[in-house]
């Protein structure tokens, strides 16, 4: 018994902590110190979820956000890897674009929503575009770093055995950049979620961000928590999946 507790101590303490928190929340909600309309409660959130599901709006919001996210992320991954490989491989090209990538990497991409709205109006493309911008730079910078961090011994070895540029690229540089790209992808996935939520706050009529904004303006805290909860679930799913992928390819790191 004691040995079993010690083996799983971390998990037991964590689970008890979460249970205790939920219990406190449920029981404390509705007392004069914590009015239920301010703090909501787990049971109220559950029934709000049921309500939104019955109305069908939650399904619509989730699918809207997912499609925007998926489109923005896929475009950004393709463009980010391609640009990262180019800038990592051709040094003069990198030096030419360095001021732009440095600025765009540092500036919070959500600031571009003002411009995107002017260019693309308020709709599906605006939201996908903000996701794209958010995901592009982490992927680009990571890919770039991956190309630059190739173990020089491998390059030397491949060259002395007469590898062509293409062989060097596809056989040595690309595989050892993979772990970096995956790290960039995990970071980008998180920033992409920021992009989709912010774009939906600002310019949208559907999506999880819209749900949160609308519910907050109507003072419906239960529904705000539903939106936050689904974002957390989605974030947990995608970040764990990408984290697992990253560990799987960790051994490809060359240096």
């Amino acid at each position: 018994m004691r040995a079993a507790f010690e083996r799983h101590e971390t998990r037991i303490i964590g689970a008890l902590g979460v249970l205790g928190f939920l219990l406190l929340w449920e029981l404390g909600s509705g007392t004069p110190y914590a009015p239920a309309q301010y703090v909501s409660s787990p049971s109220r959130i559950a029934s709000a979820t049921r309500l939104l599901l019955e109305r069908g709006t939650l399904q619509r919001d989730i699918s809207t956000s997912l499609v925007e996210y998926a489109l923005g992320v896929s475009l950004a991954v393709v463009a980010g890897i391609a640009l990262g490989l180019l800038l990592g491989w051709y040094r003069p090209l990198d030096e030419l674009f360095a001021p732009f990538t440095a600025f765009l990497y540092a500036v919070p991409k959500v600031a571009f929503i003002g411009l995107i709205v002017i260019y693309l109006g308020i709709g599906f493309t605006t939201k996908a575009a903000l996701v794209f911008l958010n995901v592009l730079f982490p992927v680009l910078i990571a890919t770039h770093a991956g190309v630059r961090n190739v173990d020089p011994t491998y390059v030397k070895c491949a060259r002395s055995f007469g590898a062509s540029d293409w062989q060097l690229f596809s056989g040595v540089v690309l595989p050892s950049a993979v772990p970096f790209i995956l790290t960039g992808l995990r970071l980008g996935a998180g920033y992409g979620m920021v992009g989709v939520i912010v774009a939906e706050f600002y310019a949208s009529t559907a999506g999880i961000g819209y749900l949160i904004k609308l519910a907050s303006q109507r003072f419906l805290m239960d529904q705000v928590f539903v939106g936050v909860g689904f974002t957390a679930l989605f974030g947990f799913a995608i970040l764990s999946a990408l984290g697992a992928l990253e560990r799987r390819f960790e051994s490809w790191r060359s240096s």
Partner: protein
């Protein structure tokens, strides 16, 4: 040209350059300062192209504005004091949120890194915030804190606190085991151990956390001001976007971007200075 090859060739190229006194000084300058020269010229070309295309009407100035127009707007706003007001509002919101994040994130991160059971208790909550974009909490913050400076400082805080906390924790967890063993063998007390081994080894991690926290905090600031504000740089961007004043939006973006770049570079310099304090991994 492939960089790896180029890099390896560099030393012999330098020797050749030194030997060959006939090589023009201009070419040598180009070799030495190429990144700076290429970078500067590309920025100048881009600005010139932007100005020309906009002036010629090839791309509508209404959409893309123009460098001269953005500068003019910047000048006007500087003179009439409106830019100072917006920047001041944003700066104070950011400063409050960031300072709170430092005051909470570092001690909490140390607690989590130091006490195994406390870490077990906190881990699910930290993980929740780690996977959820903190800006979703704006829906709650507005109801709890209203739409004033507190709400935006809270968003900056939420953005900045987790990178700090997580970096501090991982610093304490990656102490050099040889040093730990050695200190224990010589009977160091907990406090001695913390002060002379754990704390110094954690400093580089904390500085990294400080740098990451700037980026995350600025996202919180901009989103907060886009969503709920009547002043601030984020508000400038939102208002510019809604009223189709591209020059105003650009002014906002450049100010935020420049702030981010400068703050991160400054902390990056501190980071380099302390990087030798990082424990060597075995």
């Amino acid at each position: 040209m492939v960089h790896g090859v180029e890099q390896r060739g560099e030393s012999s190229q330098d020797e050749l350059a030194g030997a060959d006194a006939a090589e023009p000084a201009l070419a040598r300058l180009w070799q030495m300062r190429r990144p700076l020269l290429l970078g500067t010229s590309s920025v100048l070309v881009a600005l010139g192209l932007w100005e020309a295309l906009s002036a010629a009407g090839i791309v509508p100035a209404f959409y893309v504005s123009a460098p001269s127009q953005i500068l003019a707007t910047l000048g006007t706003m500087l003179l009439d004091g409106s830019l100072g007001k917006h920047a001041g509002v944003s700066a104070s919101e950011f400063a409050i949120g960031y300072a709170l994040a430092v005051a909470v994130g570092i001690p909490l991160g140390m607690g989590i890194g130091w006490y195994r059971r406390f870490a077990a208790l906190m881990d699910p909550f930290v993980a929740f915030f780690y996977v959820t974009p903190r800006i979703t909490l704006i829906g709650l913050i507005v109801v709890w804190l209203g739409i004033g400076i507190n709400a935006k400082a809270a968003l900056v805080f939420l953005g900045a606190v987790f990178p700090l906390l997580i970096s501090t924790t991982s610093g304490l967890r990656s102490l050099d085991p040889a040093l730990v063993k050695c200190a224990r063998a010589f009977g160091a007390s907990d406090w001695q151990f913390f002060r002379t081994i754990a704390l110094p080894a954690t400093v580089p991690f904390i500085v990294t956390g400080l740098r990451l926290a700037v980026g995350r905090g600025l996202i919180g600031l901009v989103v907060g001001e886009l969503y709920i504000a009547s002043a601030g740089i984020g508000y400038l961007i939102a208002a510019g976007g809604q009223t189709f004043q591209a020059d105003l939006v650009f002014v906002g973006i450049f100010i935020i971007g420049a702030t981010a770049l400068v703050l991160m570079r400054l902390i990056g310099m501190v980071e380099e200075k302390y990087s030798s304090w990082r424990p060597q991994s075995h």
